[in-house]
Subunit: 396 residues, 2 copies
DNA sequence: AGGGCTTTGTCCATTGCATGGAAAAAGTCG
DNA sequence: CGACTTTTTCCATGCAATGGACAAAGCCCT
C-alpha cells in the first residue's frame, strides 16, 4: 500500500491538519472559525491539502442555519506506530490519524538485552499487529526509550539502565526497518505528551508528569512544549537526594529518591518486611511467588494490609517531598502521576498531595491539581504517535 | 523632547531592531547576512524603519572588498529606564538603545513601607538621573519587584515580603507617572534577563540564575524565554525543604532553605556565633556595629575567620543541595549565582559546586558551568531595560 | 409553495509581500 | 587603468491574502 508522502506546505496547512487530528471541527466553515484566514484563502489551502491526499472530503455537515458545509477529514488510512520501551516491558500500538489506538500489544522484555534483541521483539510485535489487519503499513513511528536521548538525532546518550544502547542509532535503524519517518524521545516525555494529547493535561500548558515505574522520571512541559534540557536529561529526578547520609543507591550516591521509592525499592522493602514477619499478607505472597513486586504491595494494601499501606504512604511522602520542591521551582498548573505503580492509586496520591500542599507555597499550590494519569499504558504509545504526527504535520 | 512613538510593523523589523540593539552588525550588508531576506526586501524594511525614526543612518562601513556599505543604528536618543526594587534597596538606571547603562543610582529602602512611599523615592531618583543630563525623557521602563507578578497586567500577587503591594497596579501607576510604556516582572527574572543580555548567559538558552540576597530566588530560562509559571511564582525556591523537621522558618514550615542561608539567616547565625564567643573576629564586629550583616561575614571570612568560612561553606552546601536537585530536573546549560551575597565569592561558589557535582547525574553536570553573575547590581536594571525593550521591539 | 433571511462556497480584482535578475554605483587590487 | 568584487537600487514577476460580489443551498415563516 502507498503511504503518506506529502507534507504540509506551510504553517496554515499544518495548523489545519492538527485541528483535524485533535478533534477540532471538520467542516470547512468551522475550520474557518479557528484559523485566522479569509474564506477564499481557506478554500485554497484546503483544496491543496485535498490534492496532496492528506485529507479527503467527507460528506456534508449539519446546517448551522443556512447552506450546509462540506466536511473534510484526515485520510482515514493514515497509520502511526507508537513504541514505548520500558525497563521491563514493551508497548506497541497502532493509531489512526486522530491518534486513537486501533491495536495495542504489551510484552515483558528486558532492555538490558540490548538494542538488537529488543528490536527483533518490537518488529515481531509490529508484524503481529499488521497481521491482525489494523494496518498495512505506517506513515510514521514514534519510539520512547527509558533514558536520555539526543533528540535531533534520535540517539540514546549514556543511559544508566540501558547498557549497550549508548549511541545506538535508534531512529536510523527503525526508519530503515519500517520504511517510514521515525522520531525518538525519552519515555517520560512521551507519557507527558500522551496525557497532553488525550488525557488529563489537554488544556494545560505548564505541567509535569511524574512516572513511577521501576525507577522514577518526570516529563516537563513548559508553554505546551516538552522541555528536554541541554543534554536531553531533563526530568531525571530519580536521583534527587531526599535524605542526607541516607540509603546507599546503586548510582553511587546516598539518599536518592529511587533508593526509597519506585517499583524496585518498593519490592525490596516489601520483601524485607515479609521476611521480618511484619505482615502475614506479604509473607504469604512471598511464599507463593518466591519474590514480591509492586503489584503485590498494591494487592496487599487493597486487602487492608497495614504494612503495605505504610510502605506506600512513606514512599508517597518521599515523592511528595521532591515534587513539592519542583512545584515551587516550576509553578506548574497541573501535576500528573503515572507509570506502573499507579495501581497503588489513591493511597499514594493522598500521601503525595498531603506532602506537596504542606510544603509548597500557597500561591503555587493554591489551585494546583495533582492527579493520576488518565491513560495508563496507553499514555506512552499515544505520546509516541503524537511525537511523529507533530513532526509530519509541520511544514516540510 | 519627543519620545519614541512608532513600533516595528512586522517581525522582520523587530528582528532588525534587536540585532542592532544586541551588538550585531550595523551595516546594511551585514544585517542581510543575519535575516533571511532578499537584499531588495531588506532595503525596503530598513527604509521604513528610517521613516519611523527608530533607526538613523550612520555613515559608511569599512569595505569588505567592494563598495562600502551604509551603516544604520538605533536612534541614539532612545532611553530606557530600569528599576530594580529589592527588599532593602532600590536600583534605578538609564540605558541607551543598546541597553548600556548611562547612569545608575542605588539607595537603601524598605519595600515594607508600601508602594506609595517607594514610588516617591523611585521618582525622586529618576528626577535626579534626569537632572544629571543622561536623559530628558524615557521611551520605556522596566521594573522588577521582589515577589510574584501577574505578568500580563504587571501587578504583584500575594507577595510575602511586600505587604501593601498585593494587587497594586504597578504598571499602570508607573506608566502614568512617566508617560511611557512600562513592563513589570519579578526581580530574579530580570536578573536572569540581564545576565542573558550582557552577562555570562549570552549564549545559553536553558539556564537558571540563583539570586541570594536577603532571601533566595531563582530566575528560570527555558529555550531563551523566561519561564514564569502558571501564577507567576516560578523560581520561588527559598522555601524548598532542605532538612525534614529542621529549623522553624517564618513561612510556617520547617527546614526551608531560607532558614539556613541567605542574607537574613547568615546574619542571624553570625550573631549567635559571635555571642557564643566562637569567633573573635565576628564578636569584634558585632561589638562595633551592634548587629551583623552578610557583608560582615564576608569581611571576616576574607580576613581568614574560620567560623565565618564554615558558615559560608555550610550555607553553600545547602544551596548546592537544592540546586543539585533542580539541575537533575531541568538539565540547564549553565547555573548563575548572583545577588547581594556574591561578596562571599569563591568560598561560596566552591561549596555549591562541590555539592552539585557530587549529587547530580554525570550527564547533567558533565559540562555544566556554575559561575558567579558578571553584572552585579547592574544585572537587575539591565534586565529591566531588556524587558521593556523586547516589548517595544516587537510587532505592534 | 413561495419569499425572505442566513450560511457557505466560488470567482475576481486588488493590494501587499518577496524574489531574483539586471544594472548602476562604489570600492579593491594588480 | 582595467578587471573583479561588493553593495545598492530598480523592475518585472509570482505568490499570498483580502474583501466584495454573487451564486448555491439551506432554514424558517407565512
Amino acid at each position: 500500500m502507498r503511504r503518506m508522502t506529502a507534507r504540509p506546505a506551510n504553517a496554515h496547512q499544518a495548523r489545519l491538519l492538527r485541528l483535524l487530528r485533535d478533534g477540532g471541527p471538520n467542516s470547512r466553515a468551522e475550520l474557518g472559525d479557528h484559523v485566522d484566514l479569509s474564506r477564499s484563502k481557506l478554500a485554497v489551502e484546503i483544496d491543496r491539502l485535498l490534492e496532496t491526499g492528506l485529507v479527503v472530503a467527507d460528506g456534508l455537515a449539519a446546517s448551522r442555519g443556512g447552506r450546509r458545509s462540506h466536511n473534510v477529514r484526515l485520510t482515514p488510512e493514515l497509520r502511526f506506530l507508537g513504541v514505548d520501551i520500558g525497563a521491563t516491558s514493551v508497548d506497541v500500538a497502532v493509531t489512526n490519524p486522530e491518534l486513537e489506538i486501533l491495536g495495542h500489544l504489551n510484552q515483558p522484555m528486558d532492555v538490558r538485552e540490548g538494542p538488537v534483541a529488543v528490536f527483533d521483539q518490537v518488529l515481531a510485535m509490529v508484524a503481529k499487529l499488521r497481521d491482525s489487519g489494523v494496518a498495512e503499513g505506517f506513515d510514521g513511528a514514534g519510539i520512547g526509550v527509558p533514558g536520555p536521548v539526543r533528540f535531533p538525532e534520535g540517539v540514546p546518550v549514556a543511559p544508566p539502565i540501558m547498557p549497550g544502547w549508548d549511541g545506538f542509532p535508534v531512529r536510523e535503524a527503525l526508519s530503515q526497518e519500517l520504511g517510514c519517518p521515525v522520531m525518538v524521545d525519552n519515555d517520560v516525555n512521551l507519557m507527558a505528551m500522551g496525557e497532553m494529547q488525550a488525557g488529563v493535561a489537554r488544556t494545560v500548558r505548564d505541567f509535569f508528569c511524574v512516572k513511577i515505574g521501576t525507577g522514577i522520571g518526570c516529563g516537563v512541559v513548559a508553554g505546551g512544549e516538552v522541555h528536554r534540557g541541554t543534554t536531553g536529561s531533563a526530568g531525571d529526578i530519580g536521583h534527587i537526594q531526599v535524605e542526607s547520609e541516607g540509603r546507599q543507591c546503586p548510582c553511587g550516591n546516598r539518599g536518592c529518591l529511587e533508593a526509597y521509592f519506585g517499583g524496585a525499592a518498593l519490592a525490596r522493602d516489601a520483601e524485607s518486611a515479609a521476611r521480618e514477619g511484619l505482615s502475614a499478607e506479604l509473607s504469604a505472597r512471598l511464599e507463593a511467588a518466591g519474590r514480591l513486586t509492586a503489584e503485590d504491595v498494591a494487592g496487599a494494601a487493597a486487602a487492608g494490609d497495614g504494612t503495605s499501606l505504610d510502605l506506600i504512604r512513606d514512599g508517597g511522602a518521599r515523592v511528595g517531598q521532591v515534587i513539592a520542591g519542583l512545584v515551587s521551582f516550576f509553578n506548574p498548573g497541573l501535576v500528573v502521576i503515572g507509570g506502573g505503580v499507579t495501581g497503588l492509586g489513591h493511597t499514594l496520591l493522598a500521601s503525595i498531595r498531603t506532602q506537596v500542599y504542606r510544603q509548597s507555597l500557597p500561591l503555587a499550590t493554591g489551585n494546583l491539581p495533582i492527579v493520576l494519569g488518565e491513560l495508563g499504558p496507553a499514555a506512552g504509545v499515544t505520546g509516541a504517535a503524537r511525537l511523529i504526527s507533530d513532526h509530519l504535520f509541520s511544514p516540510a
